[in-house]
Amino acid sequence: MSHLPFIWAAYSIGAVVLLWCAVAPLVHKKSITRDIRRLIQIEESSRDSNS
């Protein structure tokens, strides 16, 4: 039995799982930054309309 497919499968799955683990917080950060900027815009526009 050739062991190569098992080695490739183990390292491929490992790479995908760890890559996802590394990238997930960056994607989350992007969406949070967008939310915060939107929140600031809403607050600034309501402040402008009040003054």
Partner: protein
């Protein structure tokens, strides 16, 4: 003084942001070096053949799965006793990283087991206790996300992670306490190692690289969690303005 500073979210955010890229860089260099020695330069095993190359992933991942849980439990204890929010966040953001390493451990181990043992899985004490570790991580993540108020959620999940720490000695000693298919330790800090140096060094280098992965990923996740929790606070807006 340093610990007091670490407790301040803006200081923690700015300070850790400076060296995260360096942690990733060291991780990358060590991983390439370790895997080059293990996968390209290193020999095949006289019994296991080429499948031995899976251990350069499986063993460091297994060590990390346990080390991260231990770190999480220690931080959970500190968070429960001293109520330090950043430690609470660090404990909780450790869980997904630990779960990722546990998934890698189980899949790589299973793919090593098929050509070596003739089976992907057996309900052996070591394998089963490692699977329980994965469920514990998932339980901590699930509990933390199930409660809306983040401090309450963290306290509940910290308590669960502390209780789950009982599984760590079970995983470690499972190969001694029970008659398992999984072999005993080949590497020992005190008694010497039965593994050849040509295989030991690549494994140790990848294991050190994995620590840098954990540190970089943990700090990245903790910074994002701080931004999320402090969304309405002034320091977050200042940080975002500075980036523009």
């Amino acid at each position: 003084m340093f610990i007091h500073k670490m407790g301040s979210p803006p200081w923690f955010y700015n300070f850790t942001g400076k060296f995260i890229p360096w942690l990733w860089l060291i991780f990358g260099v060590l991983t390439v070096w370790g895997l080059y020695l293990g996968l390209i330069k290193g020999p095949a095993d006289y019994l296991q053949g080429e499948s031995v190359r899976i251990i350069y992933l499986h063993v460091p991942a297994a060590w990390m799965s346990m080390l991260i849980y231990m770190m999480m439990a220690i931080m959970a204890f500190i968070a429960l006793v001293w109520r330090i929010r950043i430690v609470e966040i660090l404990a909780m953001t450790s869980a997904p990283i630990g779960a990722a390493f546990t998934i890698v451990t189980l899949t790589a181990g299973s793919l090593w087991g098929r050509p070596t043992w003739g089976t992907y899985w057996v309900w052996d004490a070591r394998l089963t206790s490692e699977l329980v570790l994965l469920f514990l991580y998932l339980g901590v993540i699930g509990l933390y996300n199930a409660i809306d108020e983040p401090r309450k959620a963290a306290r509940a999940a910290c308590l669960l992670s502390l209780v789950g720490a009982v599984n760590l000695p079970i995983i470690h000693y499972s190969v001694k306490w029970w008659n398992t298919l999984h072999q005993g330790s080949s590497i020992s800090l005190l008694g010497g190692s039965s593994i050849d140096a040509s295989m030991l060094w690549p494994m140790l280098i990848v294991a050190v690289a994995a620590k840098f992965f954990y540190a970089a990923n943990l700090l990245t996740r903790a910074r994002v969690k701080l931004l999320e929790q402090d969304m309405r606070k002034g320091w977050v807006r200042e940080v975002l303005k500075e980036k523009n």
